[in-house]
Subunit: 284 residues, 2 copies
C-alpha cells in the first residue's frame, strides 16, 4: 500500500509529490494530462523562472519529478473507494491502494468554441496572468457575473478601453461605465491573432479578449467521496485536509488565487500535513 | 509617491513585486542582500526548477525582476515613518515615500537560541524600545559591529554599567572603555527572568541584555511601527495585512513553512490584496 496517491500532475500535484518523495514516502502521481497550466500561452510571473510557455513549464515540472524517481502515470482516475486502512484508486488501466489521497485536480476554465480558436493568440482566461500584455490597449471581456467583475477590476488597472460582452447573458454586476454588449457573440475574427469580435452583426475591433465566464471542474470524484464543496471549490482545513480524514486537496481546486505560485505552495504545505497524518496512521 | 515599497529581495519580495509591476503599479524593492535563500546550499524542491544552489536561484529571481523593469535597490532600511497618506522609508542612502509597504523581510536562520528563552524577560532587540527600563542598571549587549555600536551609543545614555559580548566574533568597533567578552556565550541563566550570562565558564550577573547582532532586522522595524508579533512571526490577516492598514507582510517573516514555494505564493497573494487596498486609497 502506497503512502500517498496524488491525482493531478500540474504544479500542485508535482510539488506535493516532490516533498513527499524527499521525505522518503511511497508516492504515485496519476494525471490524465498536464492540466490548465499547459494551456497557458505564457507565464512570466513565477519566481526565478522568467518568460516560459505554460506547456514548457508543466513539462519541465513533470520531468524534474521523474528525475527524482517519482512514479508519474498518464492515466485517468475513474473512482476512489474506501478501504479499511486507506483508499483504492481505480483508473482506466489499473487500480492502486494508498493510505492517503491528494487531490490536485486543477480547474477547467469555461470557454466557448469561437474563443478557443484564438487561445494564446489574443484570447486569455486570466487577467492576472496576461493583463500586462494589454496595457493601454483595446480589449474585450466576456462575462456577466461576479467572476467577471473581479477580472474586470484587475484589467482596469491596465487599460480603460474595455468592452464587456455578456454573450447573451443578463448583466448581473456594475458595468463601471463601460460599453456592454448583451448580444450573443457570433464570431471571433482575425488572421493569425484575434482582431475583432462580432455580435449581432456589429463587429468590434479589439487587441485581445479575456474570457471570464467562471470555472468548473470535474467534481464527480469529490461527490463520490462525500467531500464538502462550496462555490465550486473543495473545502479544506488549515492542513489542506478535506472533511474526509486522509484526503487532502490543494491548488486551483480549492480556489483562491489561481496561479502557479499558489499551487506549488499548496502542494508543499499539504505534503507536510500528509506526512504528519501518516505518522498517526502508522502508529495505529 | 510610490504605490508600494517592498522590503526584501528574496522569493516573497520579488514575487510580490512582479505581480504588482504587471498590474501597472509603481513599485520599488529594497534589500540589503538576497536573504536566507542565497545562503542555502541546494534547493531541489521548488517546482519545475530542478537542483539549484540557493544563491543561483535568488540571483535568477532578482535578475528576472530587473528585466521586467522593476527597480531593485541594494540598500538597508533604517526606519519607516508614518505620513498622512502613506509611509516614508528611510534607508542608509536615501528616503522614499509610498502608499503601502510590503515586509518580505525573511528570517535569519542562525538565531540565538539561548537568548530566545528570555525574550520579553530581560532580553530585548531594540535599545530605543526597551532601553528605558534599564536606567542605571547592569546590562549586557551582544554584538560586535556597527549595528551594535549604534545600539550601544543609545544605551550609554541610560547606564554606564554595560558588558559587551561578541559571542565568539571579533570586535570590529570601539569598546567605549567597556569590558568586552569575546568568548562564545554558553548559557543565559535565570528563574523567571534573565539573571546572568555564562561565557567560557565565567558567569556575569546582568539585569537585562540587548541583542545587537547583525543589522536592523524585521522585528526592530516591526516594533517601531507597532506591528503585532507572536512567536517570532509578524501577525497578518487573511489578506496578508498586518494590524497596521497598508502594511503587508509575507514569506518567512510571517512564519509557517519556511520554503521558497510558500514565500513565492505569499508574495503573489499579498500583491492582489495590495492592489485592492490601493483602490481604496485612490478613491479617498
Amino acid at each position: 500500500m502506497l503512502d500517498c496517491i496524488i491525482i493531478g500532475m500540474g504544479p500542485c500535484g508535482i510539488s506535493c509529490a516532490t516533498y513527499l518523495k524527499r521525505a522518503n514516502k511511497d508516492v504515485l502521481v496519476i494525471g490524465k494530462d498536464l492540466g490548465a497550466l499547459s494551456k497557458a500561452s505564457e507565464i512570466e510571473n513565477y519566481y526565478a523562472v522568467g518568460k516560459i510557455s505554460g506547456e514548457k513549464l508543466a513539462t519541465k515540472g513533470l520531468k524534474e519529478a521523474i528525475s527524482l524517481g517519482i512514479n508519474c502515470l498518464h492515466d485517468e482516475v475513474l473512482a476512489i473507494e474506501y478501504l479499511d486502512n486507506g483508499y483504492k484508486v481505480i483508473t482506466k488501466k489499473n487500480s492502486y491502494e494508498s493510505k492517503t489521497i491528494m487531490l490536485a485536480l486543477g480547474k477547467v476554465r469555461n470557454s466557448f468554441n469561437e474563443a478557443k480558436k484564438f487561445e494564446g493568440k489574443g484570447v486569455s482566461y486570466c487577467a492576472t496572468c496576461d493583463g500586462f500584455f494589454y496595457r493601454n490597449k483595446k480589449i474585450a471581456i466576456v462575462g456577466y457575473n461576479n467572476y467577471m467583475a473581479i477580472e474586470l477590476d484587475y484589467l482596469l488597472n491596465l487599460t480603460k478601453d474595455i468592452i464587456i460582452f455578456t454573450n447573451g447573458n443578463k448583466m448581473e454586476v456594475d458595468n463601471k461605465g463601460l460599453l456592454v454588449v448583451e448580444d450573443k457573440i457570433s464570431s471571433f475574427n482575425g488572421e493569425n491573432k484575434l482582431e475583432s469580435i462580432t455580435a449581432a452583426s456589429t463587429t468590434y475591433d479589439v487587441d485581445g479578449c479575456f474570457i471570464a465566464l467562471g470555472s468548473q471542474n470535474a467534481f464527480t470524484l469529490a461527490k463520490q467521496l462525500g467531500l464538502e464543496i462550496k462555490d465550486n471549490n473543495l473545502i479544506v482545513d488549515n492542513n489542506y485536509m478535506t472533511n474526509v480524514p486522509g484526503i487532502f486537496a490543494g491548488g486551483d481546486v480549492i480556489g483562491g488565487l489561481l496561479q502557479v505560485a499558489k499551487a506549488v505552495s499548496d502542494g508543499a504545505i499539504a505534503s507536510i500535513n500528509i506526512i504528519n497524518f501518516l505518522k498517526g496512521v502508522n502508529n495505529v
